[in-house]
């Protein structure tokens, strides 16, 4: 593990991050359908979706949730993360093929846990598209190792 991993004590409350952009492609949708087994017409039937309110296929909500998790790692200096404890998440607007999404994140809360070697870091996260519209928003709770 790299020495740049930051422990619980080294993550300042209120610190903000902005990730690079990532264009969501048709390949992403196809791979994700295969990986997840979610072949909902929303993501897989271009002809059907022409007649929908979206006018075309839209990305799986969980695909963008997964992509933002990778974007977070490209935006923030790596944490000494032990695991994810949970999340509260809202899907606000569709992401279409060709849209470019970015993550804005902020350290919203830090708290101690029962085990003395770890703490909980809550990150506020907003995914925006190329027009700066919010497409997804929520909070994740990360379990992060403490420096002894």
């Amino acid at each position: 593990m790299s020495e740049q991993r930051r422990y619980f004590q080294e993550i300042p409350l209120g610190e903000e991050y902005e990730s690079p952009g990532r264009t969501v492609t048709e390949s992403d949708l196809v791979i994700f359908s295969g990986l997840s087994g979610d072949y909902n017409v929303l993501h897989t039937d271009a002809e059907f979706m022409k007649q929908s309110i979206f006018g075309e296929r839209i990305a799986h909500g969980l695909l963008c949730l997964a992509i933002q998790s990778g974007l977070f790692n490209r935006a923030a200096t790596e944490y000494a993360t032990l695991g994810l404890a949970g999340l509260r998440w809202k899907f606000k607007a569709p992401v279409k093929i060709g849209d470019t999404i970015r993550l804005r994140a902020k350290v919203a809360a830090k708290k101690d846990l029962d085990k003395p070697d770890r703490g909980l870091v809550t990150i506020e996260r907003t995914i925006v598209n190329q027009r700066d519209e919010v497409v997804q928003q929520g909070e994740t709770d990360l379990i992060v190792e403490k420096r002894r």
């Binding site: 992403d28 791979i31 994700f32 295969g34 990986l35 997840s36 087994g37 979610d38 072949y39 909902n40 017409v41 929303l42 059907f48 979706m49 007649q51 929908s52 309110i53 979206f54 839209i58 799986h60 909500g61 969980l62 695909l63 949730l65 997964a66 992509i67 998790s69 990778g70 790692n73 490209r74 790596e78 993360t81 032990l82 695991g83 994810l84 404890a85 949970g86 999340l87 509260r88 998440w89 809202k90 899907f91 929520g138």
Partner: protein, 138 residues
């Protein structure tokens, strides 16, 4: 044009549904890491979101037609324990509540993911906007 699905009117509150299971493999992890560029802490670790993503497809392998989802509204989710490569998970779901709107209705689905030992690995609530029978999904 319409799609076969379980519509808002057809949803039974409190009915428990179990899905078939899936074994999480190194292939799943590799594809997922390539797609998301989310690093895994150790090679045998399975990213929590991968398990969540794989659980969505399990609902498509039950006999009942899938929910006629207009939109995935939100999710409140807890990771209870880590999943390792080689573990086999399945889902159990129960509709907690349904609330009609003029177009479709909100449905809260309580889900648990359970491993081969019968232990809950992840659980929480999904909220969907589901179409009424006359409406075309999406």
């Amino acid at each position: 044009m319409n799609v076969k699905g379980t519509y808002f009117e057809d949803i039974e509150v409190d009915k428990i549904r179990e899905t078939p299971a899936i074994t999480v493999t190194e292939t799943h992890v590799s594809l997922y890491l390539g797609l998301t560029r989310e690093p895994a802490a150790a090679p045998a670790d399975v990213p929590a979101f991968l398990v969540l993503c794989m659980s969505i497809g399990l609902g498509w392998r039950v006999k009942e037609p899938p929910l006629a989802v207009l939109a995935f509204v939100g999710l409140d989710w807890h990771i209870v324990r880590e999943v390792r490569v080689g573990d086999t998970v399945h889902g159990r779901s129960r509709i907690l509540s349904k609330r009609p709107r003029r177009d479709g209705g909100f449905v809260v689905d309580e889900r648990s993911l359970i491993d081969q030992h019968g232990e809950v690995v992840q659980q929480g609530k999904f909220t969907f906007l589901v179409a009424k029978r006359k409406e075309v999904p999406a």
